[in-house]
Symmetry: C2
Subunit: 404 residues, 2 copies
């Protein structure tokens, strides 16, 4: 398996595009994205667990109930959530895309991201649909990725190439997500495409299984969005024999999917609102996986630790504190903690108590852009990784006045 | 019942004092506090649920197992937590206080607050004990309250006067707490004194019942401290007939206690690290109290809402979002939201959807120092209140480099 350039157009038979249609006031920001498969594709999705759900989620869920879809239409600048006419607007979006692409509305996945509770006007989308569709092209992943960004500062795309049954296969994806990131069953907007032939059941199984260890282990601010959605389209153009059951081919697909999702997780966490650092918490030695996950996520979510990491302060007491209140079954008197980055590794706590360390070396390690927090529980085989970011002045700035 | 001036010395027979002994480097900051009852007092306490517990908590728990105590010794600047010799040091503190005051070590409540994982030297405490005890006086509540402060910016004390069986009674308290505030079964350090005569069982019952609606409904940053503790001493000097069972006298005591604790909650939340505003979320119409509490606490804990409040931005979508992911049993399509302050009330959401409102008026209301977020669930009799604060640049600043 190897990483290749590109995103949602890396797999055979996919094109994409992104334009500015006028939902966002800033004319330099694309706000409408389209991803298209030349042939019908198998579709699977997971959605937010927030009781308040964006209207597009309900529409998408109905459309892919048959396990099939052929295009994804997504706008940024407005979440189309908590609006009385939300479902109606999302259905109109489907209709516009279907008419333009010569498909049925039920073949369209609809997604929206942006402000909650402001009516989404259909006019700019209607006006932008034709140029959007006409501009579909095999190099369009980047503009599509730009079209779904809100407070994101970097474009998020990734692709991998691998073989199944002697056939060259690809999976690629784009993502947006920077604030209101604390996915539960799904995350922000992630669109993944593949040319692998796989049944709807196995595709959904692969996705549902993967997100438990990937997107559900990311947190920027503890707020689970109303519009989180991860969608995978697989059009079978790689020509492999369709995957319809577990086995080596399914394992290969799972591994490739995981490579893509972990990359996107790291990109989302590292580009958290206002973030200057990617935090990665690796837990080992927990009594089981579930408890390892609880510990990893609690550490990554601690506002106090996040602020300390912003200040490159090796305040390991905050790691212990977050483990202690996590609710995990863990013997805090056996916990070891170390910080690691490209500059080296420094152990700071052993068996739940502090050990002497050089503050200068710790500072040097923590000044890096990617910090690993290594937690050893000394109890069993449970391991887990969670991704987050530091808490900075800019997070407050961005969210102190998001709507204006 | 009326509010009176003073804190832990308001009740008859209590004196207090606070000094700088040298645990904190800054000589202008008091770092050692003592509260003393001239006669033995009934004692009750609640502690953090964090698995990582400060050594002083274990020592205090053992000392008041008999329901009695006569003095509280507390240092700031060092939490005496995650240290190999933690319990030993806390016991030495008890011994020093006992010797100086002519009491038994088992009569002393010990508490510590500050940095985790750095050994607490006993020398400054030993040196400071004599001047601390000699300075005990009936006006010492303020200096004791200063002695327990860390990143607090205001001194927190309150007292009330009421009658039980024709006898004038008083309850007063001091508190510290600004960061790492998300109590669970207890909060930061809160010391409450009373001259009411009450049995240990009924005192513990009153305290345990009260905190569920007060300190456990406060959150500054979602981090549950390792050293949270609320202690009540009641010395019976008011001369009322001892309260040994439920009834009107117990109800009066509960009401007075609640007046004190709610005041302290508001002070702790409003003085949250870096806070510019006190946030108070009132939930009504939930199906029951438990669900009302879950909703209120989720709203108050949302980083996104906290940042919006800092920016005086009426971003009610974040309130809906926080309700949606709270896990409470609530019909989001029936939720109403309004913001209220001294400048007026503005409804912003009805039945889960936005309503038109004046952004100018909303801004004026949200620029106040005390903001109420009113959530109506339209379902049942459940009500709850939670207290928090806004998320500001200063929170990041304070916690980016706490240890140096």
């Amino acid at each position: 398996m190897k990483l290749i350039s590109g995103g949602v157009c890396a797999a055979k038979g996919f094109t994409a595009n992104g334009v500015h249609c006028g939902i966002r006031k800033n004319r330099t920001k694309r706000d409408l994205a389209l991803i298209y498969s030349e042939t019908p594709a198998t579709a699977a999705a997971v959605y937010t667990t927030n009781l308040v759900k964006g209207a597009p989620l309900a529409v998408t869920k109905a459309h892919i109930a048959d396990g099939k879809a052929q295009a994804i239409l997504c706008n940024s600048g407005n979440a189309n959530t908590c609006n009385a006419d939300g479902v109606e607007i999302a259905e109109k979006m489907s209709l516009l895309a279907a008419e333009t692409l010569g498909l049925k509305p039920e073949d369209i996945v609809i997604a929206s991201t942006g402000v909650i509770g402001q009516p989404l006007p259909i006019e700019p989308i209607a006006a932008g649909m034709k140029p959007l569709a006409e501009g579909l092209n095999p190099d369009g992943s980047l503009t599509a990725a730009e079209g779904i960004m809100t407070t994101d500062t970097i474009v998020k795309e990734v692709a991998v190439e691998f073989e199944i049954g002697g056939k060259v296969c690809r999976i690629g994806g784009i993502a947006k997500g920077s604030g209101m990131i604390h996915p539960n069953m799904a995350t922000m907007l992630v669109f993944i495409t593949s040319d692998v032939a796989i049944s709807p059941e196995m595709l959904q199984k692969a996705l549902s299984s993967d997100i438990a260890d990937t997107f559900n282990m990311v947190s920027v601010d503890g707020d689970t969005s109303t519009n989180d959605m991860v969608v995978v389209l697989a059009n079978g153009r790689a020509g492999n024999q369709e995957i319809t059951a577990e086995g080596p081919e399914f394992e290969t697909f799972m591994k490739a999917l995981n490579t893509v999702t972990v990359h996107l997780c790291r990109m989302i966490a590292g580009d958290g609102e206002g973030a200057t650092k990617l935090l990665e918490c690796h837990v080992t030695g927990a009594c089981d996986t579930q408890n390892a996950k609880i510990v990893a996520k609690s550490v990554i979510c601690s506002s106090l630790l996040k602020a300390a990491m912003f200040g490159a302060d090796a305040n390991w007491g905050r790691v212990l504190c977050a483990i202690g209140y996590s609710g995990a079954n863990v013997d805090v008197n056996r916990v070891d903690v170390a910080f690691r980055s490209a500059k080296g590794t420094i152990p700071v706590c052993k068996d739940g108590a502090g050990i002497e360390f050089s503050e200068e070396i710790a500072k040097e390690i923590l000044l890096e852009k990617e910090i690993e927090i290594l937690v050893g529980c000394g109890e069993g085989p449970g391991t887990a990784t969670a991704w987050g970011c530091d808490l900075t002045y800019d997070y407050v700035k961005i969210n102190g006045d998001y709507r204006t």
